[in-house]
């Protein structure tokens, strides 16, 4: 029997699941579908949760699978996302290939990572990545797919993927520098 408590717990976690679904899919309708499918799967098999310590951990695990399903289903439309081709490399380096500006010392990673506020900045920076770059970054870092799987699911070449991840990481670095490390480190 389904307890009302279980249902209301699911409902209370829905906004958080939706947040990650949006970050991954960059499309409201697809994100809603992935989360609905996740909750439906949970309601259909509540016994699968037995023994798991964290409801949220279990749900995020289901969500990951549903997100890959959505990506597979909508891969053609995703590849049509207009890509802004701006290359940060041209700003970062002088024509002779040297750094235009010395990269900053970000200090002790432990110190940054201990703070919950840093996680919020990181999420905001991932959210600011352009559509397809953001999707690819999320597939790699949040869904933890390897490059071969990503290319297969999306039907893109490894060169294309590499270029997009390169841009995404440089952008993310830029955003973290501007919104976290500037003013944090003396």
């Amino acid at each position: 029997m389904m307890s009302a408590d279980f249902s209301s717990q699911l409902e209370s976690l829905r906004p958080q699941l939706l947040k990650y679904a949006r970050l991954q899919l960059r499309n409201e309708a697809w994100a809603e579908d992935a989360v609905s499918e996740t909750l439906l799967a949970a309601l259909e098999k509540p016994q699968a949760f037995a023994g798991q310590s964290q409801l949220k951990t279990w749900l995020v695990g289901i969500l990951r699978h549903k997100l890959v399903d959505q990506i597979r289903r909508n891969s053609r439309e995703m590849s049509l996302t207009a890509e802004d081709g701006e290359d940060l490399d041209d700003l970062l380096f002088k024509p002779d290939g040297h750094w235009a500006e010395m990269p900053a010392d970000w200090g002790d990673p432990e110190q940054a990572l201990r703070q919950a506020e840093f996680m919020r900045v990181l999420e905001a920076c991932v959210d600011h990545l352009p559509g397809q770059q953001g999707r690819l970054f999320m597939m790699r870092e949040w869904l933890e797919l390897d490059t071969t799987e990503i290319c297969k699911v999306l039907g893109i070449s490894s060169t294309n993927l590499w270029v997009m991840l390169h841009r995404a990481r440089l952008r993310l670095r830029d955003c973290l520098q501007a919104h976290w490390f500037t003013g944090q480190v003396s």
Partner: protein, 71 residues
């Protein structure tokens, strides 16, 4: 195979190494460049922090969510 690479080239290789194992020659070129280049060494450290941050973020997204706060 060119062993001496520019900072721009080494940066591209460092980024690529986040996703794939580099070919031997590229790995060697990076290893030769880093000890003599403070800028690329810093960039590499930044990538390391970003990798650790992603890992932490995955854990955070599963367990803490929006209620987490240490401040």
């Amino acid at each position: 195979m060119k062993l001496i690479r520019t900072c721009r080239e080494v940066t591209a290789l460092a980024l690529r190494a986040e996703d794939e194992a580099l070919p031997l020659g590229d790995r060697l070129a990076v290893m030769l460049h880093l000890p003599i280049c403070k800028a690329c060494t810093r960039f590499k450290a930044q990538l390391g922090l970003m990798r650790a941050a992603s890992q932490q973020w995955r854990r955070y997204s599963e367990t803490l969510g929006e209620t987490a706060s240490e401040d």
